[in-house]
């Protein structure tokens, strides 16, 4: 710092000296302002997101004289992005959930984005934590998502205080013939760790231990701990009660709730358009916890803009991602096209006023567990899901959990 201060001092002295000499110390000013974007920025994202992103980004690009092309990639986006980047054929910007950061970083496909303090202060701190990996911010998040409990207020007027209460109400309604199933929650035959996690957490389980800075430690695997067996016992109970079924796939969970065939639905903000269209009366509350259990914390995920480290228009891409995505304008428009809670605090509070649902989702996510972005998480999904599917189908809990923990440790160690 000393040299620079010295340089600055000398510079200042020189400036003053020049001024004292009566020299022309003021630079000329032109009328043109701002950075003039040229060329085309290419954004890759998955097909579904591309649909909601395209109109907003296009409108924004036109208004600011930027050319942006949003391309939806149908299959294997992550792998395609990494491979294309490697060969210099990739896009300038990638839009995806933050949990890819670990793998993208280990492949050198993205680099940290030095956001200013003001830019960071404008963001939801949970979202900022999500994109922070190894102490560095790797992307600009724009929307958040987490699970919540949606209930049909005609069938279940009161929000259940505990999971047990929810299951009891669901079973009563089912026995009375008012609904077909206790709970709408997507599981599928491979299980669903994302949806099972809040229940697992409430029953005392965890995924990875965290250090003081919130970094996940792959060596501390919660599934290998005895608490995990107790937690899976609770999941097994949910299976016995018919609240979680491997037969309930994505084609059943949300549609059944929308048709009034279930009273409760565990889902995220992505389901809202479908539920609103169905015209049922509903309310959104946090997922309740087991009686006397820990809070049922859902995973917190963020939708994030990443700058490709080998993109062709890196300067424009960095400018766009750091300066435009952090702004409230674009955040509001993105929210209007896809109702996921905005990361931008200003946009979020504005949206909360006109849309109470969004605020309820944000509230349901408070204190949530940031979806781990470490590459080891990749090894967790399938075995965890299998154990989930096995125990709710009535298999031996201890064997299922041990099998999953062994498989994960084997994969991480390899």
């Amino acid at each position: 710092m000393r040299t620079k201060t010295a340089t600055l001092a000398v510079g200042a002295a020189l400036t003053m000296a020049l001024a004292a000499c009566g020299g022309d110390a003021e630079p000329q000013t032109t009328d043109e302002s701002g950075i003039d974007f040229q060329g085309t920025l290419v954004i890759w994202t998955d097909e579904e997101r591309a649909e909601s992103l395209k109109p907003v980004v296009q409108e924004f690009a036109d208004a600011n004289g930027i050319e942006i092309e949003v391309q939806g990639i149908a299959e294997n986006l992550q792998d395609q992005f990494v491979t294309a980047s490697e060969q210099g054929e990739g896009p300038d910007i990638l839009v995806q959930a933050h949990d890819w950061i670990g793998n993208l970083v280990q492949n050198g496909a993205i680099e940290p984005i030095p956001l200013t303090e003001e830019q960071q202060a404008a963001m939801n701190p949970d979202a900022l934590r999500a994109v922070t990996y190894d102490g560095q911010i790797y992307g600009t998040p724009y929307a958040m998502e987490n699970l919540a409990l949606i209930r049909n207020t005609d069938l279940a007027p009161e929000a259940p205080a505990t999971i047990e209460e929810m299951v009891a109400t669901g079973n009563e309604l089912k026995d009375a013939g008012d609904v077909e199933d206790v709970l709408s929650i997507e599981v599928g035959k491979d299980g669903n760790p994302y949806n099972a996690y809040p229940f697992y957490a409430s029953a005392g389980g965890y995924l990875f231990g965290q250090d003081a800075e919130g970094n996940y430690d792959p060596a501390d695997l919660g599934l290998a701990k005895p608490e995990a067996v107790d937690a899976f016992e609770k999941l097994a109970w949910l299976g016995e009660e018919g609240a979680m079924k491997t037969t309930m796939g994505p084609e059943h969970a949300i549609p059944m709730f929308a048709e009034g065939k279930t009273a409760f639905l565990v889902t995220g903000p992505w389901a809202m358009n479908q539920i609103r269209e169905a015209g049922i009366s509903y309310d959104i509350t946090p997922i309740p916890s087991f009686e006397g259990g820990d809070p049922a914390t859902p995973f917190i995920g963020t939708q994030t803009f990443f700058v490709a480290s080998k993109g062709e228009n890196k300067a424009f891409a960095q400018e766009f991602v750091a300066d435009f995505i952090t702004g409230a304008d674009l955040a509001t428009k993105l929210y209007e096209s896809d109702p996921r809670p905005p990361v931008n605090i200003e946009a979020a509070s504005a949206a909360a006023e006109s849309d109470p649902d969004m605020a309820k989702f944000l509230a349901a996510g408070e204190g949530g567990y940031i979806l781990p972005a470490i590459p080891e998480m990749q090894a967790v999904w399938e075995p965890f899901g299998r154990a989930h599917a096995a125990v709710i189908s009535g298999d031996d809990v201890e064997a299922a959990v041990k099998g999953a923990a062994d498989a994960i440790q084997e994969a991480i160690g390899a």
Binding site: N107, E111, P218, A315, E382, A407
Partner: protein
Amino acid sequence: MSTRPPLSGVSGQLVKILVLSVVAALAIWAATPLVHAGAWVGLGVVVAVTALVFYVYLSPRRLPAKYLLPGTLLLITFQILPVLLTITTSVTNYGDGHRGDKADAIAAIQAAAVKEVPGSPRYLLSAAWRGENATDGELVFLLTEPGSGEYLVGDAEGLEPLDPGGLTVDPEGRIVAAEGYTVMTPAEFNAHSERITGFAVPTEDGGIRSTGFDAYEGVSTRTYDESCDCITDSETGDVFVADNENGYFVTETGDRIRQGWQVNVGLDNFTRFFTDPDVRGPFTSIFLWNMMFAVCSVLFTFVLGLLCAMAMNHDRIRGKTLYRVLMVLPYAMPSFAMLLVWRDMFNADYGLLNQLLGLELDWFGETWTSRAAVLLVNTWLGYPYMFLICTGALQALPRDTLEAARIDGATGFQAFRKITLPLLLVALTPLLISSFAFNFNNFNAIQLTSGGHPFPDASPQTGDTDLLITYTFRLAFNGSGVDYGYAAAVSMFIFTIVAVISGISFARTRKQEEVYR
């Protein structure tokens, strides 16, 4: 032997000119990016192939080559090259975390460790070349510090103040022109992104680096030192030494930096496959089921296809065309979608099959129901193909032989067993073998229906309906990242199995053909 070209006359010449112009156009199209990238080997291949094509087709001789060349080129491109690529990949650790070379890894590690110096200012950045009207040369950063209104110039030596008198700035304060420098336009700035983002003006605490059109003072906490071939982390003091055999930097305590590079690992991937207890344990049972799946798929589809073909071949049936169209339908629809539809029909609670038949079977929950289900689906998908080729073969059978048999008093079944079937098999065995090879590796039929289910609790990685290919796919792609090297080694192994089985079958077919000749 005549040397007359096979295509003669004006139309022949026209076709030849047209095709060769397309070849020339393709060659130019392929060469342009190669020239830009300086890939001279690739360019050489393109030139050589084009020259060969022109030589063969313009020469009045080389008649056999004219027939063989297109097929040979396609064979090399689509069969031999991928096999060679798989072999070369199988002896590397290519995969997530090991994709680029060592220089890439070092660059990525250093870039990922750049941290902003706390409390340092943000600058408005203009990139410029030293000297008036320059378009290349020495890169400098012209900086404006908005807070104090200072103007600075940074080069590879360090920061210097700038005389504001010689500057032109925009209303924001960003320098757009400076005496003695050529300021880049944003478009030029962007075009030189790679060089600009790789540049840092050294300061005491680190360096002034660009981010978009701004600059900040940042320091990389990890630096590479060539003399020890190691990376030192200035924050923690850890020293990561390069492990050039495995392609990563590692401390003495075994902490690895995640960004690694691709290295040759010899036969490690193969040894891993043969010594991995996860593979050895379930291998026999998976292999047996895999054989059974492939054999049954071929058998069932062939029997069903043949039965349908014989029924449709009967003279007294009306509306044959309609029936045939209906039968070919499963073949005409995309198998992807069909597999998913079948999977939903097997759903234990909401599936059509259980609801229709009043069953409460958890189809994919039990070993044998799951195996029966995937075979059922695969038979349904595969029989139209067998139906088509059997229909073709039946119609080509000599009628007189069958008539002779009937006159000699053979029953319909005897005629079928002694004459029709053997004659059919001579024609169809090669197709049955290729169908076997296809089904042996029929990834989609398993992955999209049962997904390998059911899985025993103790080993959530090996399902009872897993084929070798779906099982090893899971092993190679579900660790902490994708492991292409391992996947390539495994596919080499599966390739060997299929090749051996097909080779033996073909050898036996040849004998069979001799018998019936």
